[in-house]
């Protein structure tokens, strides 16, 4: 199971501190959302026994600038995330094959519908269930976040769209163990299997992108054969 976190300088904990806590809580891997984070993945995995993968979360105001960032950053990261939060950005993200994850689709003015859910499935863009506000907000914003999660869950179930689960932590103290997330998920209508699948999906994205970066890979379903020169 993987978790995806923001780290120093965007968060209050460095990548290695986040990795130490995540390993302690039973995660197998960590996706780093912060582009400027400085870390040595091998040293961290030797020390704490957890796989650390570099990702980039594109936070753009509109689809045009997001498209520029996606083109620039796709080659340099293993996992490319685009932060949603407006209808235009959500739509752009789920219709772009090169994007792995649409994060926080229901935040702010963002909304989701059956068209976007179908597109996410077609383009294999994972939709993120953001548990951050459930764990850390209270009152009205939390109620809205729960409403958003419920709507998103119903659409994702109906159209079988790929999804990931994260607590969008930007400090190691915000991380929670998978078992705790399953318990919280159960209270707000998710099945424990959905939470597990959502956490494991990060690992599947990393594996898929590794395979694509392999030099034997030509296109999905086509690989250079054993006997090719």
């Amino acid at each position: 199971m993987f978790e995806a976190v923001a780290a120093y300088p965007d968060g209050d904990s460095t990548v290695s501190r986040q990795a130490r806590t995540a390993a302690d809580y039973g995660y197998d891997g960590l996706v780093v959302r912060t582009r400027d984070a400085d870390f040595d993945a091998t040293a961290i995995s030797d020390r704490y026994g957890i796989e650390v993968v570099g990702g980039i979360e594109v936070d753009a105001a509109d689809p045009e600038s997001a498209a520029g960032a996606v083109g620039n950053y796709r080659p340099e990261c293993s996992v490319l995330l685009v932060r949603g939060g407006t209808n235009a950005l959500n739509r752009y993200a789920v219709e772009t094959d090169r994007i792995d994850v649409l994060t926080r689709p229901m935040a702010g003015d963002g909304d989701f519908n059956h068209v976007l859910a179908r597109a996410a499935k077609t383009h294999r863009v994972h939709v993120e269930f953001d548990f951050g506000p459930v764990l850390r907000a209270s009152g009205g914003p939390r109620v809205q976040a729960l409403q958003g999660l419920r709507k998103l869950r119903e659409l994702v179930e109906q159209y079988d769209a790929p999804f990931v689960v994260s607590v969008t932590a930007d400090a190691h103290r915000q991380l929670r163990a998978p078992r705790e997330l399953r318990a919280v998920g159960k209270q707000i209508g998710f099945t424990p299997d959905q939470i597990t699948a959502g956490l494991e999906a990060w690992g599947a994205i990393v594996a898929r992108n590794r395979e694509r970066a392999d030099e034997r890979f030509i296109e999905p379903g086509v690989r250079r054969g054993r006997d090719e020169p």
């Binding site: 400085d38 103290r173 991380l175 929670r176």
Partner: protein
């Protein structure tokens, strides 16, 4: 009042909780209990919160690390775990926490899941991001004071 006969007493479960906060954060039992009730009330509602009947039994905390034993009804351990996960801060001080295990008695809970206290803190200056910074250190982790904010790091970041 006379205590209940054994066969109709509630069955309890005890959750071993490990707490982690900033080294200078002060947290006491009362504050943790309040945060727990608040989290349970918000997540489970009044009815669910009454069913779970969450009580902080043992509480030990000093210098940013602590352990608590939380009692709940036997049938409500999942709800208790969910409520615990929703405590993000105590008295506005962010805390991390994890349930290490669940037992049927306080003693088994302490013996099986709670470890001894971590070694003491040391204050020193470390090299981080091309500068020397004051840090409070325990084992391989440290809390660094930067001009804007404090940053949690491990010794892998010092160079």
């Amino acid at each position: 009042m006379k205590h209940l006969p054994k066969h109709i007493r509630p069955r309890w479960r005890y959750l071993a909780v490990e707490i982690e906060a900033a080294p200078d954060a002060a947290i006491d039992r009362g504050a943790f209990q309040r945060a727990l009730w608040y989290a349970a009330g918000n997540l489970l509602g009044d009815a669910g919160s009454a069913d779970a009947d969450l009580t902080v039994f043992g509480f030990e905390y000093a210098d940013g690390v602590g352990e608590a034993i939380v009692r709940t009804r036997r049938e409500e351990t999942a709800a208790a775990r969910a409520a615990l996960a929703c405590i993000d801060s105590v008295d506005d001080q962010p805390i991390g926490l994890v349930v290490r295990g669940i037992s049927g008695t306080v003693r088994a809970c302490e013996e099986s899941y709670l470890r001894d206290r971590s070694p003491d803190l040391t204050e020193e200056s470390v090299a981080f991001a091309d500068d020397q910074r004051p840090a409070i250190r325990r084992d391989d982790v440290a809390e660094l004071s930067l001009p804007e904010a404090s940053v949690a790091a491990t010794e892998l970041d010092f160079h």
